[in-house]
Amino acid sequence: MNFDKELDAKGLNCPLPILRAKKALAEMTSGQVLRIMATDPGSVKDFAAFAKQTGNELLSTAEQGKEYEFFIKRK
């Protein structure tokens, strides 16, 4: 998937991946896509809830071993 910005949140625990993602999205423009890599298993549910609440669209969630990858489209 194409993306405009990347956020490496590996090794970070709750709530840092969300806070960093929020910051990254704030620096982007509407329609741009942010790719996030994380290792916090809680982030799967958290990013879904974050997207729902903030209106930024969660395009996909993928899991590879102990790593998670999210694509979020800026509102």
């Binding site: 709530p15 840092l16 806070l19 974050f50 903030t54």
Partner: protein, 200 residues
């Protein structure tokens, strides 16, 4: 000449229209409202510093309006230097006592140290705090300093309890910039309007 008004029919019509319009209107109002949260932070230890700052920074990231009212020992969380916040395992049976280093079998041991011994060893709290800080680091958990500044950057409002400042002999200079000082009468109307209000 007055026309006779059929009140019953009018009422029925209004009621019917209201039933049609109101649910949608309420949804619109709910969607347009910015959620808000108020927290009372009353504890001044390293472990209890986490819940208010984690929830406040996360709520702010979700777009909520957040304020934290720091009172009693919670005021310690506003000090300029919070590197000396401590955690006490004494009288805290819920706290796992595990080592943050060594082989896995060693890290898995829960050291069940009786209160009497904990209380008798000088520096026990400092040691427990050091181990806790290492565990925090190992797990990629943010430091309190970081969460606090992230909260401030995200416009979380910090309110210090003026009464406690006086009671404990603090001055405003002991605390970080950007803190408002007020009392219960300031907090309560905010809490009344808030969607979420938590005591910690």
């Amino acid at each position: 000449m007055n026309m006779p008004i059929d009140n019953a029919a009018l009422d029925a019509l209004i009621r019917q229209r209201l039933d049609e319009i109101l649910p949608q209107k309420l949804e619109e109002l709910k969607a347009a409202k910015t959620p808000s949260m108020t927290i009372i932070a009353t504890k001044g230890t390293l472990d209890w510093a986490y819940p208010p700052f984690i929830l406040a920074s996360t709520a702010a990231a979700l777009g909520w309006d957040v304020s934290i009212f720091f009172t009693f020992y919670g005021l310690n969380l506003l000090k300029k230097d919070i590197s000396d916040l401590k955690v006490s395992p004494l009288g805290n049976p819920g706290m796992p006592m595990k080592m943050p280093f060594g082989p896995d079998w060693f890290k898995g041991i829960n050291w069940n140290i009786p209160n009497l011994i904990q209380a008798g060893i000088p520096g026990f709290e400092s040691m427990a705090t050091m181990l806790m800080k290492q565990t925090i680091k190992n797990n990629g958990v943010a430091s309190i300093e970081e969460l606090r500044s992230l909260s401030q950057e995200a416009d979380v409002k910090f309110i210090g309890c003026q009464m406690t400042v006086d009671l404990f002999g603090f001055t405003h200079g002991d605390f970080i910039d950007g803190v408002e000082y007020a009392g219960a009468a300031t907090f309560l109307p905010q809490a009344q309007q808030a969607d979420v209000s938590l005591y910690m």
